[in-house]
Amino acid sequence: MNLHEIQTGLAKGKFTLKTIVRNYLNTIEKNKDLNVFITLFNKGTIDRAEEIDSKTKTGKAGKLAGCIVSVKDVIAVKDKPLTCGSKILSNFISLYNATAIERLTEEDAIIIGKVNCDEFAMGSSNEHSYFGATKNPVDKERVPGGSSGASAVSVATDMCNISLGSETGGSVRQPASFCGVTGLKVTYGRISRYGLVAFASSFDSIGIFAKSNYDIAKVLEVIAGYDEKDSTSVLNPVDNYSELLNNKFKSGEIIFGYPKEYFTEGINEDILKGIQHKIELVKKAGFEVKEISLPHSEYVIQTYYILTSAEASSNLERYDGIRYGYRAGNEDSNLNDMYINTRSEGFGDEVKRRIMLGTYVLSAGYYDEYYKKAQKARRLIVKDFENAFKEVDYIITPTTPNTAFKIGEKIDNPLSMYLNDIFTASANLAGVPAISIPAGFDRNGLPFGIQIIGKKFNEAGLLRICDFL
């Protein structure tokens, strides 16, 4: 059932929200072995459902009554734990709501709990969590992708109907692809980052998972928009995304491009075939599809990892064991030792590796060599997209070069893990919106997605395309 069907059912009294929530809680309980939730709100959730059920009876329920949302544990929910999948925040309780959470709950969406993720959203497999790896429901020996892996799993297995995740380089689209659900990364600044724990601030954005594009549209029109608490959120008006879904594209109205650099060696054969099949469908629907070039594609991963590691090392300086979080040692420790021990015991291996890399590329002698150069390369990548969007309206690529890999397969090889972002990180570098839509299964039955990248602030177009892909 999508949100429209749920809301119609609620209004007609066919079922209650309390029953829906109970069902989701049962599913969560039955699938505990997937290790999806870090904190479950349980009782509070049922009480909220009862409240909203009585509001529905008097016609006073909010626009998102019927939305049951899991939240990646890097987004703040007031008075609830906010762990970021890290030991260093394992006892932290959030003092406030993220703006996205505030807007969701005002419209009667129910937050069902906080879900697992790679520590501080750094990873592509959900294995880098202090709370253990989350498993892919299609094959429990495989990863769900990351860093918002558990968000994707929660939607794929019907533990909720919406999940909020976060993206820095593909952390919503890649797990959406690995788990067979739809995942949207919005234009940089479209959704307020207030209450989203910072990883790489010039890249980070909140993303939305669901099984239906209608549900994503409904949620997006509530949470998108300017917020004075985030000075990088933008003033551009918010579209009525769910209404716009009724406008079907006319044949010939839009042009698609596929970047030749994204269709080279190293892509899983079944994915390649699946995407080519989708391209044929687009053509049959009456749209032109042409080859384009994003000439700096081969520099995406380098640019992305230099800049995000640098920003991460700076953002994570705040974890010093003074005002909040884990603290090592006792009152007699030396202050500097306390800082060092707190951070060394509190952070996991991948986070430490990124802090080290980031500190390296920002340190004297290397700043111009790496950081400054990467900022320049980022401009070239942005220009690639600007040029491409003069020729076409949408860009089609595979979301990932492979389907879900085995747990443990890449954990000891950070570079091969980083290459998972090869098709997704460019949209974050350019700040443009992109969506991963389920596109099929490989010969082992593992799902994969097709990625559509759009022009800035054209989330509506991406959501409309889901209807014919």
Partner: protein, 96 residues
């Protein structure tokens, strides 16, 4: 460019992190491989390219400088690992 063991020591000091000898070796190896991979951006001619710092190239965002209630002192101290009634407590900084 290979990352040396001196680099690892220097960077870990700056980052306020410490590692065992085994961890250092693994880190040196990982960082060398990653930096080596990143060195590819040196192929690009970037001499006439301006660095990009703000993706939406937005202007300064101003607001009135008015006092507002954000969080109370009690709330601010809630998550502190060590505190007195009204202060965050830290290890002794000034020695006797």
């Amino acid at each position: 460019m290979p990352v040396s063991s001196e680099d690892v020591n220097k960077i870990s000091k700056l980052a306020k992190l410490k590692f065992s000898e085994d961890e250092k070796k693994k880190l040196q190896n990982d960082m060398s491989r990653i930096i080596d991979y990143m060195d590819k951006i040196n192929e690009l001619d970037l001499s006439n390219v301006e660095p990009l710092e703000n993706i939406n190239e937005t202007e300064n965002v101003f607001r009135d400088d008015k006092k507002k209630e954000t969080i109370s002192r009690e709330e601010a101290l809630k998550n502190a690992p060590s505190k007195t009634d009204i202060f965050f407590k830290v290890p002794k900084v000034i020695k006797k």
